[in-house]
């Protein structure tokens, strides 16, 4: 009887422990995602976004390299496109009653111009982030990226970052 109780308590303790182990990586991943997104999409980047990336260290090299190579995920692009379309349509609606707020641009042009900027900023920040973390792995990723057919403003940042790391 006594041994059963002890076994049950041990199971409970181990179970709790393993639950803790199983749960701990998830918040960490979520936190890293949020940190990454904050850096890749910051407007002025004055809120310590890069500092947080650097503090996360080498674990950020792989996701930053992926962001540099591939840009935003398709989901992110779709969401951004939807938001841009909504912003455009809202402006057009507003212009109907406010002639002092003209919209001399087609929806397609508006969405494309802003989406392009979003991608460039996203990838440029990824390159800068890799440079800030530094180390062999980050440098290797930047070197590989410099040979990719990336957009010109992104390649400029990649090459400047590599020069700084030399």
């Amino acid at each position: 009887m006594e041994s059963n109780v002890i076994a049950a308590m041990l199971l409970l303790i181990l179970g709790t422990g393993s639950m803790g182990c199983a749960q701990s990586p998830q918040p960490r991943i979520l936190r890293n995602d949020a940190v990454l997104e904050a850096w890749l999409t910051c407007e002025e980047c004055t809120n310590g976004e890069l500092e947080t990336i650097v503090r996360a260290g080498q674990s950020m090299v792989s996701p930053l390299a992926e962001a540099l190579r591939a840009g935003p995920t398709q989901d992110t692009l779709d969401g951004t496109r939807r938001r841009l379309t909504g912003a455009y349509q809202s402006m057009v609606e507003y212009a109907k009653t406010h002639p002092d707020a003209p919209v001399p641009m087609s929806e397609r042009e508006y969405v494309d111009r802003h989406l392009e900027n979003f991608i460039v900023m996203y990838q440029s920040h990824a390159a800068t982030g890799l440079g800030a973390i530094g180390g062999a792995a980050a440098k290797d990723e930047l070197t590989k990226a410099s040979a990719l057919p990336l957009r010109q403003p992104v390649l400029t940042v990649v090459r400047e970052t590599l020069q700084r790391l030399q």
Binding site: E37, A38, E44, R113
Partner: protein
């Protein structure tokens, strides 16, 4: 003792007195808005003395609102701030016309949106970028009852420039080539805007969407813009800082990430207009009472930054 006719007259008399008494007890001081443009339901923030000096940013909605029995007390901050779409923000301070009577009427005259001139220099992109960004800015500021209408001067086409990068830390090349207009907000669209960032032990530069230059507060740089970047940077020039949760979410214009940002709180709208260092006061565009309300300060003169509009 009384004839039937006398009893009836007495009864009617008593009824009249009773109705008058009820009416008297129901009366209250009123704020009446005059000359309003449009049909928006305005937001009124009221400060002052009722039974104590504790009427602090009491919110009302409407163009003719009852406010109880407000009383003049010169030791107590007494003011009325009115926010309405299509109208400038009106800050009446101090209000000295309240009396002990409960039938006071304070009339606040509204005025058209305050026009804020903006000089735009296009060193990159196309002129219509600035046109749509100013339009988006006006949509946000007007819908949120901030009371401003930004007016773009003739955009200067400077796309033949050799300047490819700009930062607030080194404005000289830009200002030498394209001298900013004094007492006016000057917005430069440039191919690339950089900002210093700290990463670990090193300080480096990074590309950013845009910047308001605190060291030269009539200068705004726009680089790889999002739709609301200009509106956001103008917010900085009007003294607003970045916001964060939980009081705010990513829909607020001053959220620091590139998301769809369309909101401004009433606390922000007041600061935009009343803060002494706001571009509209610094540049003499607005005439009216000013104060200094940092985002973090909340007191009688400075409503909480997150003060918003409750659902009707």
């Amino acid at each position: 003792m009384f004839s039937r006719r006398q009893r009836r007259a007495l009864l009617i008399g008593l009824l009249v007195v009773l109705i008058a008494l009820i009416w008297y007890l129901r009366t209250e001081d009123r704020i009446v808005l005059a000359s309003q443009t449009g049909s928006d339901l305005p937001v009124i923030l009221l400060d002052g003395f009722r039974s104590a000096c504790d009427v602090d940013d009491e919110m009302h909605r409407g163009t003719n609102v009852g406010v109880g029995n407000m009383v003049r007390d010169d030791n107590c901050l007494s003011e009325i701030a009115v926010f309405a779409q299509e109208n400038a923000m009106n800050l009446t301070t101090p209000v000295v016309t309240w009396t002990t009577s409960s039938t006071d009427v304070v009339t606040v005259s509204e005025a058209a949106l305050l026009r804020v001139p903006v000089k735009v220099w296009t060193l990159s992109g196309i002129a219509n970028d600035a046109v749509v960004h100013v339009s988006k800015t006006n949509e946000i500021y007007n819908k949120m009852r901030a009371g401003l209408l930004f007016e773009r001067d003739q955009t200067v086409d400077a796309t033949q420039t050799t300047i490819t990068v700009a930062s607030c830390e080194n404005l000289t090349p830009l200002e030498m080539a394209y001298p900013p207009v004094p007492q006016k907000l000057n917005v430069y669209y440039v191919p690339r805007v950089t900002a210093p960032v700290t990463g670990g032990t090193a300080t480096m530069t990074t590309n950013v969407n845009g910047r308001w230059c605190a060291n030269d507060p009539n200068i705004i740089l726009i680089g790889s813009f999002a739709p609301e970047t200009l509106a956001h940077e103008l917010g900085h020039s009007l003294t607003l800082d970045h916001v964060a949760g939980p009081a705010f979410d990513s829909t607020n214009l001053m959220w620091p990430l590139s998301t769809t940002r369309t909101g401004l709180s009433i606390g922000q709208a007041l600061r935009i207009n009343a803060n002494q260092q706001s571009a509209i006061n610094r540049n003499g565009i607005r005439a009216g009472a000013t104060r200094t309300c940092p985002d973090t300060q909340t007191d009688a003169r400075c409503p909480a930054l997150a003060t918003g509009i409750p659902p009707l």
